[in-house]
Subunit: 335 residues, 2 copies
């Protein structure tokens, strides 16, 4: 008899989660669309569609820079964008515990309305369930989204080649640290705001102007270390990044040092990792920098052919170390 | 300051839920697609799509005739069908508490795989969150689905006219009673199985053959009383149903009598209410009866012009009474 139990680590975005996805979900439910294991599905209707889902269980539900409602819209909108799609419609499904204050719900729905407007999506359909007090922690929100794919080339691992450049659109670690600071009541001390933002206005102009984008991903749970490991482990390629190129704000850097956290593993909600052909990389960074959400964009490294399946970090002092996938969850429920 | 709280009744499918939907969600998020307030959204892509979402919080997670996984597929598949769409893809988002047994998860995923196969949908994308033990009750599942609309006429309230016939495709009350019997440990005494089923093979042939269908809805939370009230309250028409035409199994009838429950308010998960032009009603019932899931199909009443906004039940003894919308939830978490 199988006595394994689901652990918090299974929800962390790291390797236990990946094992569970492959060992159970793909085994039982696999099909060509799902097997892509992208955050959104690409569906070949006559008009190509992207389709994505995310449940949000973030705690606390209000944090510096956002709340569970804004996050629920941005998370799904950004997942659709990462497939080269223009997000168009989202569904909204709420699970609340009995006694949840109406006023708090209204605040969250207002925030959803603003985020939806800012990201150009409409809420098309919804559902609401109420469970007994204590049967869920305040409120959980699921959003699923559909978008129209506007990028000509199918974005995915298949297109990535050695010498492609790895671009990041903004400072890393903001979201996870804002949640952690708020939970530990260090909010004022660190003054870290979540980067939670819809990326449409940053990404869509780039998609329209640049043809050599191979892959995009928003590095949420598990941070950019996990996103880069997903790329290397599923492509057999290597990724080399340079520590001194990583954009990290002063406050995130101090907080990480103080708490002994590696910002590479901290969740983000308003940045993207873009892999593109090397000749276009500077042009992309230049376009990104012209937008308020892309001011800190830069090339952080490149794709190599070896060491296969590995992410290598060149440190500031010239050494190099392997960056593994997140295995345990230092910070559950950040989204 | 607004001190209202969310109550279990807000999740019941009855009038408190409708007030919350209109008073908050439509007010904040309204748009032509959402305002239809159908269980699925109809989206005008070049290829018309239906888009639906549902979270499932049923307790217990295994019940006679199904489990939370099967229910999560059937619920969304049936919502899509009700818009005249062929369900094609679903998303799958799980929220589990830490310590949830892997074996139970595998059993649920297997059940999802079977239900997806039986209803011709593929799981296109997914998400998984794990919360601390006690932060949710075992497991919640959200499925969102998209389908291709195959019915020429837009199904909805607008098409309903006096003298249209109201058809029900099978016995009422099976799902809610199966959950209640299981919860109260009366399972063996009553032997009531949930009707939880995907309705594709029952409904799609009818959609292909009959042109005069005006409206379809699967009467889940709040039962057929609530579905019929949604029709009258949003159309201004009247609906008259005949008590002795209502298909109720012997075991549901006995259990309802014993527990003082009205089967009109009990949730269903494998039947549909169909409103169609009177000249086609017999043909539809005949087609339904030729299918194992439609053996108990029948015409239960008709649309009238008055009393406006009301559902009237003609009882077996010839009297008539108004059937109101569900106001409190006698049986939370049946889906």
């Amino acid at each position: 008899m199988d006595k394994r139990k689901i652990l918090l680590a299974h929800g962390s975005g790291g390797s236990p989660m990946h094992e569970l996805i492959k060992g159970l979900f793909i085994r039982k439910l696999g099909n060509p669309v799902l097997n892509e294991l992208s955050d959104s599905a690409r569906i070949n209707y006559r008009q190509r569609l992207a389709f994505s889902t995310d449940s949000f269980v973030v705690k606390p539900i209000f944090f510096p820079g956002g709340d569970i409602g804004k996050l629920a819209i941005c998370g799904t909108v950004n997942d659709l964008l990462m497939l080269g799609a223009r997000p168009e419609y989202v569904s909204l499904a709420l699970i609340m515990e009995e006694g949840f204050p109406y006023q708090t719900l209204e605040r969250i729905v207002s925030s959803i309305a603003v985020a939806a407007k800012n990201s150009g999506v409409q809420v098309a359909t919804g559902d609401m369930k109420v469970v007994e007090k204590g049967a869920c922690d305040a409120i959980f929100i699921n959003t699923s989204g559909i978008g129209r794919i506007i990028y000509g080339r199918p974005l995915g691992l298949a297109g990535i080649k050695p010498r492609d450049k790895i671009i990041i659109t903004g400072n890393i670690g903001q979201h996870g640290l804002s949640i952690l600071a708020k939970r530990k009541d260090l909010g004022l001390a660190f003054n870290i705001k979540s980067d939670c933002q819809p990326l449409n206005s940053l990404i869509i102009p780039v998609l329209k102007k640049v043809k050599s984008i191979k892959f995009m991903r928003d590095p949420t749970r598990g941070g950019i270390a996990t996103t880069l490991n997903e790329i290397t482990q599923n492509s057999g390629l290597s990724v080399e990044i340079e520590e001194d190129k990583l954009p990290v704000s002063g406050s995130v850097r101090s907080a990480c040092e103080l708490m002994g956290i590696d910002p590479l593993y901290v969740a983000n909600e308003g940045i993207a990792v873009i892999i593109a052909g090397r000749t276009d990389a500077d042009k992309i960074v230049c376009m990104l920098k012209g937008h308020p959400l892309g001011r800190n964009a830069r090339i952080i490294g490149e794709v190599k052919s070896s060491p296969r399946f590995k992410v290598v970090l060149r440190t500031t002092v010239g050494a190099s170390r392997i960056v593994g996938m997140l295995t345990a969850d230092p910070l559950p429920r950040i989204c």
